[in-house]
């Protein structure tokens, strides 16, 4: 029974990580950009909730999503000129923005962490067939599934989705055919920011303390998930995020509390093994032959 309950909690965490992985994957697809600063979008959402406390909850939700999208657009503007720069340059640029935003948060809010107090009612547990499950767990799974479904419908069934996929597969050819580079990149950034906004809402209920590293702590395991799943494909990347989320959740609950400090050690050990065995990612099939010389 306790195992089932742990599993459900782990799936909820997996759903959030999957959303984060999908957001990272969207930006990577159109810009070949590994955006470490994506975590700060989640942090920005949490602080917006904090700053709007006292307002009606729907106002806080709208405000958080709006502010996150605005920051997403700012990141778009910041990173766009680097589109043709080397991967190293882009990586260092996103790192810089990430640390800059974290340090601004330290300056403004301090490192101690402040209680967000967003929809605490969802932290209450409900009894389902002997299982004690928190509402936020159910909501996370539901919203995660809905958003993942909606995003994949958008990508596979709409014209802008087709253009985003084409840009991710072969940006130059897409532009030759008339796909507007700027439209595609902005759409991907807005989409990714909205996903970050929703993740930030869910996390603010589960981990109700806003800190400067609120989002950064999520982004690292999600990035691990993307690499494990397969970086340059959205579905494998998302599955990877989900898998790492579930694994983190399960290990976190199953390990005796004294051993929990080894959680990340165990996680990264698995990552190294996966990368040694399947360097292209766990969920990527049928790759071309690797040239050895």
């Amino acid at each position: 029974m306790i195992l089932v309950q742990n599993l459900i909690d782990a799936i909820a965490l997996g759903a959030l990580f999957a959303l984060v992985a999908m957001g990272l994957g969207l930006m990577f697809g159109v810009m070949r950009l590994v955006n470490f600063a994506y975590g700060e979008l989640i942090t920005v959402g949490a602080y917006t909730l904090l700053l709007t406390s006292g307002q009606p909850e729907w106002v806080r939700v709208v405000a958080a999503l709006l502010v996150v999208v605005v920051f997403g657009l700012l990141m778009d503007v910041t990173f766009r000129p680097l589109r043709l720069a080397s991967p190293t340059t882009m990586l260092i640029a996103t790192f810089s923005v990430s640390f800059l935003l974290q340090n601004v948060a330290v300056l403004v809010f301090g490192t101690r962490g402040e209680a967000i107090g967003f929809l605490p009612v969802l932290n209450q547990a409900v009894d389902i067939g002997g299982l004690r499950i928190r509402w936020v767990t159910l909501v996370s799974i539901l919203i995660g599934a809905l958003l993942l479904g909606a995003t994949s419908l958008l990508l596979t069934r709409t014209t802008i989705g087709l253009q985003i996929r084409a840009a991710a597969a072969d940006f130059r050819m897409a532009r030759i055919l008339g796909v507007k580079a700027n439209t595609v990149i902005t759409t991907a950034f807005v989409g990714a920011a909205l996903l970050a906004g929703v993740v930030s809402l869910m996390l603010s209920i589960q981990r109700p303390l806003a800190t400067p590293t609120f989002g950064f702590l999520v982004i690292i395991p999600a990035l691990v998930g993307i690499v494990v799943g397969g970086m340059d494909r959205l579905v494998p990347a998302t599955l990877g995020g989900f898998a790492v989320g579930v694994a983190t959740g399960l290990l976190g609950n199953l390990l005796p509390s004294a051993q929990r400090v080894f959680l990340n050690t165990a996680l990264f050990l698995v990552v190294i093994i996966v990368l040694l065995i399947k360097p292209d990612g766990l969920f990527v099939r049928g790759r071309q032959t690797v040239e050895r010389l």
Binding site: Q163, R165, A166, A169, M173, R175, I176, L177, G178, V179
Partner: protein, 242 residues
């Protein structure tokens, strides 16, 4: 079709394109008239693909001018140039192999200047390439090389371009498929679409084109007429230099 009185649809003058500091095209120029098929041949590294890339807006020229229907397009991005009415079938086809055939064709619609007539052009393209029509829902990567080339041309044509740039469309294809391809290109010409055809099968290009120019080391060497196609010596001289 072509004539000294007609205004060219494409005018390239004094084109210069550099990779780093190295010039790949230097002082190259030519004109394409409405409805004309211009062959562009020359040995590897002559600058043919570079020239097409410059016209399409993928590479920015370091000098010279590219004029399409009277307006200078040098500094426009590819997506704008596509909307002006230029389409390209790049070397190696560059189809989206993980997408369906139909999705590939639909991507060609992005370069249309107007939404009107989409259905007509789709019909036209699908009727020109029945095999593409038949395999609409297949993954493009499953098609044979010849079919993929047809798909690449179909994808370029649904945007209803007035100028089609073709880079080595027959590369790696069996002779019988080359025939099919040129039959289709004949239909495209019948619609009045102008073309610039880069082709390593020199004889084929010279035969098919209204006029063929030869490029070597980034420069224009000579110009050939269809009647030169049967003159092997003249072709070889033009190509490799005498």
């Amino acid at each position: 079709m072509s004539g000294p009185v007609a205004r060219p649809i494409l005018r390239v003058s004094d084109l210069e394109v550099r990779y780093g500091g190295v010039p790949a095209v230097r002082g190259f120029g030519f004109e394409v008239y409405p409805g004309e098929v211009l062959g562009l041949i020359g040995p590897n590294g002559a600058g043919k693909t570079t020239t097409l890339f410059a016209i399409m807006g993928i590479l920015e020229p370091s000098g010279g001018e590219i004029e399409f229907e009277g307006s200078v397009i040098n500094r426009l991005p590819p997506e704008r140039i596509a909307r002006l009415g230029i389409a390209m079938v790049p070397e190696g086809r560059r189809i989206f192999s993980e997408f369906t055939v139909e999705e590939n064709v639909r991507l060609g619609l992005m370069g249309r200047a107007d939404a009107g007539g989409e259905a007509d052009d789709l019909d036209w393209v699908y009727s020109m390439f029945p095999i593409i029509d038949e395999f609409r829902s297949r993954t493009a990567g499953q098609l044979s090389g010849g079919q993929q080339q047809q798909l690449a041309i179909a994808r370029a044509l649904v945007s209803r371009p007035r100028l089609l740039l073709l880079d080595e469309p027959t590369l790696g294809l069996a002779p019988v498929i080359v025939d099919t391809l040129f039959e289709a290109l004949g239909q495209v010409r019948g619609r009045g679409v102008s073309m610039v055809l880069v082709e390593q099968r020199a004889q084929l290009a010279v035969q098919f084109a209204d006029r063929t120019i030869v490029m070597r080391d980034g420069e224009l060497v000579t110009s050939l007429e269809p009647s030169d196609a049967s003159d092997a010596d003249r072709l070889a001289n033009a190509y490799f230099g005498s």
